[in-house]
Symmetry: D2
Subunit: 131 residues, 4 copies
């Protein structure tokens, strides 16, 4: 997050919200994309994959949406346009869906518990920015 | 598009809408992502880049969102959930925004004219799926 | 591919190779990324997922690498630098690996057969550009 | 990085190298992708964009390659295959190229200095994994 904050602070444009807050959200988005990618792979590595198929698909959707949203927010000076708000809304929904799905498997699979936590934090960041 | 259609038709799951229609939309999404990536690069190659800065940023946003949406639709059996509808809505908005921005430069730059056309087709595909 | 070709031809820069050839390769890369994304999802939809786990992982790797390579080639005027050659080499390898893995399941799963074909065409395109 | 490490440690498979080292590399890759995305946007926000065109293009290439490599490494149990080694090699090259290009503008643009540092750290991580 420190690197992201340094990048935002040295950007010639003005961020549309507090740079710390924006850097925090961006960090959560990339972290969530990473966690979901590993969670999908961890699910594929379990002895019983079948019960985790919905989880894998949701992980993959969530990873893709988080990366696209993270890249949009990284293009700093884009103001909080209607488009950015739509994406933040879709992303919050993706994280919420993924957290709910992962939570179903949290007692069995620790990686699903960790991933659900990251998704919830990321959802919160998106909603805070929509605020 | 033929390859995409073949993939959808050999998928063990049932597509949630007509496969031809779905394959068409997926093809538009990847094509739009590709066109926007080249349009951003073409803008960077123009003698006067400054007036095209907003166009480049919009192109990059549109490419990212189209790819994420295209990947979601490619995971065929995901039903038209609220999440998918949110993404299709955000994507239609991205394409609309990019088409509008590219159109401003269409008389000067042929690549912006071609790109605006692709964006409009892609927006239409997303809206058609939203019904 | 026609749209890609139109984009390349209206780019202010000179393509480093014949535009038809470049447009063809770009089209194969995006098509391969799309097919691999659907093939992974189709594998997840099969009654027996376990024997397809390696195939799903290879599909996901191949999709990611094809998209990155497709985006690089879409930034037209980048000359065939050492970096571009490295990526084309890695991408050819990814497609080759994925085609080999999908081929193992082609007799059982038609989507793997279609996907293996796309991967082989894409590998050929990458190698032709390296040629 | 802590989240990534937790994900790797709760993965049912064995990582092919020390989890701390792998988590560190994955964190650098996503961080580098993020920094390059913001650096491209920061360059677009400068008063004189023309001298930064090569930097923007290199940033975009580097971001795409880092994300693809980061996703591959996040699929933990993939052994350090020839394909993974190819991608790590291409990625190290991308980071090296981007660091060199950003360094040319470091005295003028602080974001290029920060980005060059991230790229160098990421290049080092990739080379360390290549061993």
């Amino acid at each position: 997050m420190q690197t992201t904050l340094n990048m935002l602070k040295t950007h010639p444009g003005q961020t549309w919200t507090d740079p710390e807050r924006l850097a925090g959200a961006i960090a959560e988005l990339y972290s969530c994309a990473q966690a979901c990618t590993t969670c999908a792979d961890a699910c594929l590595g379990e002895k019983e994959v079948q019960p985790l198929v919905a989880c894998i698909r949701t992980n993959l959707d969530c990873a893709d949406i988080c990366l696209a949203t993270g890249a949009m927010l990284s293009r700093v000076t884009s103001s909080p346009t209607e488009l950015l708000r739509s994406m933040l809304g879709a992303c919050a929904k993706a994280c919420n869906t993924c957290a709910a799905e992962c939570s179903k498997h949290s007692s069995m699979h620790e990686h699903c518990r960790v991933c659900a936590d990251v998704c919830r934090r990321c959802e919160k960041s998106c909603r805070d920015l929509l605020g």
